[in-house]
Amino acid sequence: MDFNVAEEEEFGFSRNYFLAKEMGSSGKKSARKLSDINVVDEQELREASANIEPKHQNDVADLINSYKSLYPKWVFDLRCGFGLLMYGFGSKKSLIEDFASTALAEHSVVVINGYLQSINIKQVIIALAEILWEQLKLKRKVSSGSLPKVQQPFSSRSMDDLLVFLDGPEMDEKDSFICVVVNNIDGPGLRDTETQQYLARLASCSYIRVVASIDHVNAPLLWDKKMVHAQFNWYWYHVPTFAPYKVEGLFLPLILAHGSSKQSAKTALIVLQSLTPNAQSVFRILAEYQLSHPDDEGMAIDNLYSISRERFLVSSQVTLNAHLTEFKDHELVKTKRHSDGQDCLYIPLTKEGLEKLLSEIS
């Protein structure tokens, strides 16, 4: 690239930024509130978003189909030792899974869904090691060789051991690799450095090839040069699909439902599941109280404390407060000043949502 052009671009970039900044602060900023929009009920909104009529359905399908002609090339690249990195607007989940299931039919394929909130990378690696073990066993049977006995089940081995096993010496058949499909390698469940380091080490293993997708414009910032050049060894492909991000967006709040105090039962469930059983039970007491006293403004803290203590859920006010702080931080519980002046607690969920939530945490 011409140096001047690059410089020009850089200037353009910062100029745009400052122009935008200026526009924001020049007083033209609109003061309209989100609440001015007559937002429909959240339930209705979710229903409607489930039934959005897709636009350009055929064009999108054509576009995705046109990538099929690239499949042999992708296989070629994988066999050459590269990892494939797909980017471009639109969900690429079905595209790469289709690629894996048709073009890599002879290989084992494991899919990691990075768009989910929490992923235990060790579990994935254990599963991969087990698959590889099976494969090797099968192969040795054919070639009548013997495999060293597994001293330890994979699940109790350390990460390093597992990665060493996956990085074993090359087999005679060079291209018998396991394909790891990572949907949204930049997703919330995989975004931390440690996981990325493990993924990078996984990708550099001799038995593993990675096909991953990114959606975030800044995703490359997740990796340093060692990861990019020596471990992931990315081969970039620009494959916009314009397919809706259905699953990927599932756990993100709807913006119009966000501003209101309504918490979706789903996110509440996710938060609750991450808490201790005792904390869950405390929440349950509060929820049951709210369901049985629908007209009450909320449950008094003292009341909650005495019931929790009776059930041996908390030993002191301090422990209860710790739980409550946790709840409040995640907006599971809110405080309200009762008409008699006492603070009381309530859960900002609808009756139905609350019932559903209770049934799911039990």
Partner: protein, 724 residues
């Protein structure tokens, strides 16, 4: 399983997305089927090809298809052959470059080990105790080799330290390689100890304890030094590293550990990272590796200039790779990676690249058996004659022999080219002429075709012209250097040239001729020196000698000019080079550097180009309701500052979606005007529009182009990207 793409109706509700495997953190999509034993190792491409017959109609015939597959497998084989050759060449080159330093380090390691031993070996009862022995301050000294890498990019040195480890292992040392990742605050000193145990004892015991290491060393007969290599100390966590050093120093009598640490910046680095008590334990020595530029030149010389695999890159590709190295990435690793990508692409696209299998392995007498390449002869000949470089020269008859002849001609020309380039390189080496730059110029077909070298050379002779025009012209710089050489230097240079041009009689003869002329001159001048001359004549004779040498170096310069003009045929000017030469720089760039930040925005702004739909293409920039929702939203967002008022954004979105015939260019506050038209549609589709708005916002959030409203500013979303 995942919803298949072949379905015309993708899942219409979100619930479908829920039900499948999509909510599992990970899923085993399929297990590898056991292959049939008769299948060849590289059979993957085969099955898929048939599926694609609908996509590429010309492959309709089954036999053709199979041939194609066979060809593809051969190409894969050829790629593996060529790349392994390149890779091993690179490894060798890099190892050779470091060899001096490696052996220096090795000598030092053994000396240090002897010093440690001279402090005394532990007695048996002491040795078996599980605590360290400390006799005096001296026995706590830890010999430390600081290896200055002269390179901020530690990724290039990973291989160096790995090789160093191998080298020392080969010399009998116990070696462990630790990386900065072992020194994290999270794992503490236990993490590095575990890593040590795992590398020395080949096992991972959970309570990692250094006494285990000590007893292991005792069992190993205590005759060899233990070397711990840390590749980049600047990236280590300082406190963990200092704990590690303190621990090792206490045990140094029992376990004679010698540390080797990579330092990317300056010798100050340890002082900046470590506290003084840890520094006091170190007994540092300094070693220096070659610079990245030196390594680059060595790699370029071995892989791209000298005959290595037969695979070569075209001018544009070379320039792209050079620029990427010089101004963007700066690592040799990425340069090599780019070369690999180029290689992959070449073998994938060029059916005749199979020939490289033989082209590289056999020196002379290339025998081509077209039938062996899996393609039918007709297809091959058609392909050969369609090569652009073949259009210029007509092959009289398409036979294997004539093709083989053409290839040997190509080899001959390449040899000449190589000789000239190397001659230029040795000429300019001392004056910081980089081989990479030289290479890029030497393979430029344009300048060769236009005789640009020629004009530049002429300009060179005219000092007035030369200053402005030839600046930075590496070849001319090298030629100019020849003119300024003294006789002795010229003699040395000519001798090197003579060696480099062996096998090319045309050039070699001329070099020899000049060399003999030089020797005659030399003899003359030395004779003149011997004869006693009156004082006043000396200066004139001196002048004469200078003049002679001047004319000699002029001759040498003319010679190299002639060589450049006559013998430096860039490969891209030779017929059939397409079979060996990869030229598509754009493709390489796309594969090497993804540009998600720009491309994703362009996807959104110009989506109609990608989707090829007729409904959204209009000459004006107006937003149409048929456009992709997220695209509309993103285009609308462009009109806002860094903050987007959600209310306004929603209203503009709504007005566009609801107003199919509106030609109006949407502005920020669309509300007041046309209430009437909207009214009836409003009630029914309010929910759906809001849902679409929400989804578009979510999608923008996923792409990272939008930051959600904060608590402080609940009514504004924040733009993240400004401009492409």
């Amino acid at each position: 399983m995942a919803p298949s793409l072949n379905d015309d109706s993708p899942p219409s509700t979100i619930d479908e997305a829920f039900t499948e495997n999509n909510l599992q953190p990970f899923v085993v999509l399929q297990k590898g089927s056991s292959r049939k034993s008769d299948r060849k190792s590289s059979g993957t491409g085969r099955t898929r090809r048939t599926d694609l017959s609908s996509a590429s109609p010309k492959n309709s015939a089954n036999i053709e298809d199979e041939k194609e597959d066979e060809n593809m497998n051969l190409r894969m084989e050829a790629f593996e052959f060529v790349w392994s050759k390149i890779e091993s060449t690179i490894k060798d080159v890099l190892r050779d470059i470091n060899m001096n330093v490696f052996s220096e380090i090795q000598t030092w390691v053994h000396q240090s080990f002897d010093t440690i031993r001279s402090l005394g070996t532990p007695e048996f009862p002491e040795a078996t105790q599980s605590f360290p022995i400390i006799t005096d301050a001296n026995s706590k000294r830890l010999f430390t080799g600081l290896v200055l890498t002269k390179n901020m990019e530690f990724v290039d040195d990973l291989l160096t330290f790995e090789e160093l480890g191998k080298h020392l292992k080969y010399q009998g040392c116990h070696v462990a390689n630790l990386s900065s990742l072992d020194f994290t605050a999270k794992n503490g000193v236990g993490g590095c100890l575990r890593s040590l145990l795992r590398q020395f004892l080949m096992s991972s015991l959970d309570p990692a304890d250094i006494s285990i290491l000590a007893s292991w060393y005792r069992e190993e007969n205590c005759n060899n030094p233990v070397v711990v290599i840390i590749d980049d100390i600047e990236r280590c966590c300082g406190s963990v590293l200092s704990d590690f050093i303190l621990m090792l120093s206490e045990w140094v009598i029992k376990i004679p550990v010698i540390l080797i640490m990579g330092v990317a910046t300056t010798l100050d680095a340890p002082r900046n990272i470590l506290p003084s008590n840890a520094l006091r334990c170190l007994c540092p020595f300094e070693f220096t590796l070659g610079t990245p530029a030196e390594r680059m030149d060595a790699v370029v010389e071995a892989v791209l200039v000298k005959p290595c695999s037969g695979f070569i890159i075209g001018h544009k590709v070379a320039v792209f790779m050079r620029n990427y190295f010089v101004s963007q990435d700066g690592t040799l690793t990425s340069f090599i990676r780019a070369l690999k990508i180029a290689c992959t692409q070449h073998f994938y696209t060029e059916p005749l690249s199979v020939i490289l299998l033989e082209f590289a392995s056999e020196e002379d007498n290339l025998v081509l058996e077209i039938e062996r390449y899996g393609l039918s002869p007709e297809v091959i000949w058609k392909h050969v004659f369609e090569l652009p470089s073949c259009q210029r020269v007509r092959l009289n008859k398409p036979t294997s022999e004539s093709l083989a002849h053409a290839f040997s001609e190509l080899k001959r020309l390449q040899n000449q080219w190589r000789a000239v380039v190397l001659c230029l390189y040795v000429t300019g080496k001392g004056e910081k002429v980089r081989l990479l730059d030289l290479f890029c110029e030497a393979i430029d077909p344009e300048s060769y075709n236009q005789g640009e070298f020629d004009t530049n050379m002429k300009a060179e002779k005219d000092p007035v012209l030369s200053s402005s025009r030839i600046k930075g012209h590496v070849i001319c710089k090298a030629v100019r250097l020849v003119r300024d050489l003294s006789t002795a230097q010229l003699g040395n240079l000519l001798k090197i040239w003579e060696n480099l041009t062996v096998g090319i009689p045309e050039i070699n003869g001329k070099v020899k001729e000049l060399l003999s002329l030089l020797n005659v001159e030399d003899g003359k001048s030395s004779k003149k020196d011997l004869t006693v001359t009156p004082r006043r004549h000396t200066s004139r004779i001196q002048l004469n000698i200078e003049k002679d040498s001047k004319s000699l170096s002029d001759k040498a310069a003319n010679l190299i000019e002639g060589m450049v003009r006559d013998y430096m045929h860039p490969t891209e000017c030779i017929p059939f080079h397409e079979i060996f030469c990869f030229k598509d720089a754009d493709k390489l760039r796309l594969a090497l550097i993804g540009d998600p930040r720009r491309r994703i925005q362009v996807d959104l702004l110009e989506f109609q180009k990608l989707l090829c739909c007729r409904c959204c293409t209009s000459s004006s920039n107006a937003l149409l309701p048929s456009m992709h929702d997220t695209s509309i939203m993103y285009k609308l967002a462009q009109e806002h500052g860094d903050l987007i008022n959600l209310h306004d954004w929603y209203q503009s979105f709504k007005s566009i979606v609801l107003c199919p015939n509106s030609k109006r260019k949407p502005r920020q506050s669309p509300l007041p005007k046309k209430r009437k038209g909207i009214k009836e549609a409003e009630s029914q589709s309010e929910a759906s529009i809001q849902a679409r708005f929400c989804r578009a916002v979510t999608e923008l959030q996923i792409t990272g182009l939008l930051r959600m409203p904060s608590k402080r500013r609940p009514d504004f979303a924040q733009r993240v990207a400004f401009g492409l």
